[in-house]
């Protein structure tokens, strides 16, 4: 399966190794295998794969992770720039690419 990676060297993700207690929670929630764990120490292995969803920072009880989270959606950026309320943004469902179930279905929220 091809691995899609967005722009290089742009994401705002940061991990403070001093604060990290190696609980591994960030590895569980990250949908893009951005972190690695090696002998109890956790680090970033795949920064460019990060989509800034913020799940890792939210679930790090030690507050070792910082990231400017948001949805990478051009329509939302345009709406915000135009000062529109309810900046609409499309994002994909937690979709099931199963043959039997209906494919995911995304929602403009």
């Amino acid at each position: 399966m091809e691995r899609l990676i967005y722009l290089k060297d742009v994401v705002s993700l940061d991990l403070d190794a001093e604060k990290c207690v190696g609980c591994g929670m960030c590895l569980l929630v990250c949908p893009h295998e951005v972190f690695y764990k090696n002998n109890g120490s956790v680090g970033i292995q795949n920064r460019d794969a990060c989509m800034e969803c913020g799940a890792c920072a939210k679930n790090c009880a030690a507050e070792a992770i910082s990231v400017n989270s948001g949805v990478g959606c051009a329509a939302a950026v345009i709406n915000a720039a135009l000062g529109r309320q309810n900046a609409s943004c499309c994002c994909i469902d937690d979709s099931q690419d199963s043959p039997s179930a209906q494919p995911g279905g995304s929602t403009c929220c």
């Binding site: 399966m1 091809e2 899609l4 990676i5 967005y6 722009l7 290089k8 742009v10 994401v11 705002s12 929670m25 569980l28 929630v29 990250c30 949908p31 893009h32 295998e33 794969a49 990060c50 989509m51 800034e52 969803c53 913020g54 799940a55 890792c56 939210k58 679930n59 009880a61 400017n68 989270s69 948001g70 949805v71 990478g72 959606c73 051009a74 329509a75 939302a76 950026v77 345009i78 943004c89 499309c90 994002c91 994909i92 469902d93 937690d94 979709s95 099931q96 690419d97 199963s98 039997s100 179930a101 209906q102 494919p103 995911g104 279905g105 995304s106 929602t107 403009c108 929220c109």
Partner: protein
């Protein structure tokens, strides 16, 4: 506290529990469920595609049965009950205003507060003896597991990304494999998103076409209708080419289009589309006016395609906000510039004709 209604079409009975008679849900989809999903995909009445929040039973769950948490977007709920068919579980549905898990987590409606509130109001602690909640992994952007534990006493366990992997996740002792944790963007999923891109773009397309056809009639060398016949009608296949390259081919060919920025991918496929459209027009390059018009399409089509491709970032599953901002800093001026240049060339070609 109010229990979810028993009058919902997927409810097949009720089951007594420590928190009263809870609705038992079917573990299969009816044709009505499928039709509803289809309509939701094409944007027909999507806003009301919800189920009641609260606690439901799937199969014959007892006090030890797992608790699976999901959003009250009906498609998320349907996928879950079907994926876990033949097994017993409690399903806790959060009120996300009918929005799917990932999107709602990003907005915070599938979040710590709502989860804690729903655990409380459903009296979950009276229904099960264990203190564990299975959440979809993609709820992560909204939920702070450690705070949920503090607020409710329940431990959050992040399950697989896809509901489909839940049985394997259970059989594996509630442990996800690395593959279950990776959000891929396979062609099947990109295909399913095409209507979401195509349908909203139709309106703008119609407006652009109307304006171009009208301009051709007014500004061309001959009479109004002859102008439309000679110059206006060709805008239809040309603009449709831009629409299709931007909303169908870009999602479909995404991994194989060059460049990382979506606008780059759009520019490339737009240029190819323009080449095909211009070359396939008989005698188009015979006159100076024709050549100028052909050139106009080499600006207009890629500009539109790149813009539509850029908008696909919102539906993709791997673009970051920082990245999108960086892309837009150059892409928006390029798209507007190319669009205006194309329009100028096209209008000039009318005067020259």
């Amino acid at each position: 506290m109010s229990l979810p209604s028993l009058e919902q079409p997927f409810v097949v009975g009720s089951i007594p529990s420590g928190a009263g008679n809870l609705p038992r849900v079917s573990d299969s989809m009816t044709w009505a469920d499928r039709l509803g999903a289809y309509k939701a995909r094409w944007g027909i009445g999507r806003m009301h595609y919800t189920v009641d929040p609260g606690l439901y039973a799937l199969g014959e769950p007892d006090a030890e049965a797992p608790v699976l948490v999901t959003a009250n977007y009906k498609m998320s709920f349907d996928l879950l009950r079907v994926a876990f068919s033949g097994r017993d579980a409690w399903i806790l549905v959060l009120d996300t205003a009918g929005i799917n898990v990932w999107c709602a987590a990003g907005k915070g409606t599938f979040g710590t507060e709502e989860l804690a509130r729903r655990v409380e109001s459903s009296e979950l602690a009276k229904v099960v003896t264990h203190r564990k909640l299975i959440l979809p992994q993609l709820a992560g952007p909204g939920v702070e597991a450690h705070r949920v534990k503090k607020l409710t006493g329940f431990e959050v366990i992040y399950g697989p990304i896809r509901a489909l992997d839940l049985p394997a996740f259970q059989d594996n002792g509630w442990k996800a494999t690395p593959k279950m944790r990776l959000k891929a963007f396979p062609v099947r999923e990109r295909l399913a998103l095409i209507p979401m891109e195509l349908v909203p773009a139709l309106k703008g397309t119609a407006v652009v076409l109307f304006v171009l056809v009208l301009l051709s009639g007014l500004l061309g060398p001959g009479g109004f209708w002859k102008n439309i016949l000679d110059h206006g009608l060709f805008t239809i296949p040309a603009i449709l080419a831009a629409l299709l390259t931007g909303t169908v081919l870009t999602p479909l060919l995404l991994p194989w289009l060059p460049g990382r920025a979506f606008s780059t991918k759009g520019l490339v496929i737009g240029l190819i589309g323009a080449a095909i459209i211009v070359i396939s027009r008989e005698g188009s390059l015979a006159s100076w006016a024709g050549r100028l018009e052909g050139l106009a399409w080499f600006f207009l089509i890629p500009a539109i395609t790149a813009y539509l491709a850029m908008n696909f970032t919102g539906s993709s599953t791997y673009t970051s906000l920082s990245g999108v901002r960086k892309e837009m800093r150059w892409a928006v001026p390029v798209e507007i510039g190319a669009g205006l240049a194309g329009l100028g060339l096209w209008v000039s070609s009318l005067f020259l004709a």
